[in-house]
């Protein structure tokens, strides 16, 4: 029973303590905040990162061990992990030349290229999917076109006030929309946070045991 009750109690206590801490200017309260943010959470976050990374390691290892579909590619992934760890721990850390070279030659191009592919699919979607079917969709497309033209050099040539019009769109109607959503999201986040602190929302605990 305490396997679920204890974590809920910890969440409640820490949540309430840190909310109250905000309003208490006493040195002990401030020191608590300092210790938690400069030491404790930094150390614990490192372990969170490590467990995320080791989970990926386990995933690929089990794929290879049980010869699941695509296990050949998992060998490549595992080889990459092992290579970086050997080079990193064996050659003196994150500043070593082999790590830096691998970072520049492999990690940077792969990471950057993965996301740049989206440009092509966006162009395809612009042709096939962005339809002015309704009045509001037309408003969306016209705004998008104005913003796209206003943010390039041609905008100045077409109409000298186009960049100003674009900036007006960003600072007035766009800002109104973003703030409306921000306030709504803020209220929803507050509600969810309180639900977690008071133990009503328990999905973070995982399975029922």
């Amino acid at each position: 029973m305490f396997k679920r009750k204890l974590p809920i109690l910890v969440t409640f206590v820490m949540g309430i303590v840190m909310i109250l801490q905000f309003f208490i200017p006493h040195p002990i309260s401030q020191q608590l905040f300092t210790i938690l943010t400069t030491k404790w959470l930094v150390i614990i976050s490192a372990f969170f990162l490590l467990i995320g990374l080791s989970s990926l390691l386990r995933l690929h290892y089990f794929k290879i061990a049980h010869k699941r579909e695509g296990w050949g590619y998992s060998i490549i992934a595992l080889a990459g992990i092992i290579f970086m760890c050997i080079v990193g721990f064996g050659w003196g850390g994150i500043r070593s030349t082999p790590i830096n070279v691998t970072y520049q030659a492999v990690l940077v191009p792969l990471n950057a290229t993965m996301f740049s592919i989206l440009a092509f699919y966006m162009a395809s979607a612009a042709f096939r999917a962005f339809r002015a079917r309704t009045v509001v969709a037309t408003v969306l497309l016209i705004t998008a076109v104005i913003v796209m033209l206003g943010r390039i050099s041609f905008g100045d040539f077409l109409w000298e006030r186009l960049p100003t019009a674009t900036e007006w769109i960003m600072t007035i109607p766009n800002m109104a929309q973003k703030r409306g959503i921000l306030l709504g999201v803020g209220l929803a986040s507050l509600a969810t946070s309180l639900r977690i602190i008071f133990g009503i929302e328990r999905s973070y605990l995982g399975s029922k045991e």
Binding site: F22, A46, G88, L141
Partner: protein
């Protein structure tokens, strides 16, 4: 063309990823998995040398600072997730971090995300821009209020809200196009400047 072997490796990997545009193929999959592997390996090394070593191991074992023992133990508890019989212990660490983060975040979130934003909305209705702003913010919030049926006055205000929402989405879309194109420019710039030397 470049004579640097590492530029060639980068170029080859870039083209391997772009090969997906033609169709899914083993070269792309291999590059994708290599990316995952190298990322994870780099991150493990990075976390150890940037966080675990200077903030836990050095203070604890070289400087005798026992104050890091408790967060270190809490951190180690998270690995109990790999042992089914004791995986509940990891909940303690998760709860600690969650409770602390939420407790810190609530007052600051209210202040920065709500009170300041409300303050910024209280504008003198002396200009068209200010009137539009206040009307826009209010109507957008009414649109997302689903606790009452959207009919009559609520429906009218909600429809005004939709117009502002669509303008906002249009602006976001325009900027998203800009962002995605920029990423593509970056990669093609690398290929044609640093690798092929076609761009001076």
């Amino acid at each position: 063309m470049s004579s640097d072997i590492f530029i060639w490796i980068s170029a080859f990997l870039t083209i391997a990823v772009y090969s997906f545009l033609y169709k899914d193929n083993p070269l792309y999959k291999a590059a994708e998995h290599l990316f995952v592997g190298v990322s994870v390996g780099y991150s493990i090394v990075g976390v150890y040398f940037n966080a675990v070593l200077p903030n836990l191991i050095t203070p604890l074992f070289k400087q005798g600072d026992l104050s890091v023992l408790v967060p270190g133990l809490l951190g180690c508890l998270i690995f109990s997730r790999f042992i089914p019989k004791y995986d509940w212990l990891s909940r303690i660490t998760i709860s600690f971090v969650l409770g602390t983060s939420i407790g810190i975040g609530i007052p600051l979130g209210i202040q920065a995300g709500m009170l300041k934003q409300l303050e910024g909305t209280m504008l003198p209705m002396t200009s068209l821009d200010n009137i539009l702003l206040v009307v826009g913010i209010f109507s957008v919030m009414v649109y997302f209020f689903f606790s009452t049926e959207h009919k009559g006055l609520v429906n009218t205000v909600s429809k005004i809200g939709i117009v502002f929402i669509m303008v906002g989405f249009g602006a976001s879309f325009g900027y998203t196009v800009m962002a995605r194109i920029s990423l593509l420019i970056g990669r093609l710039d690398f290929l044609f400047r640093d690798w092929i030397h076609l761009i001076k």
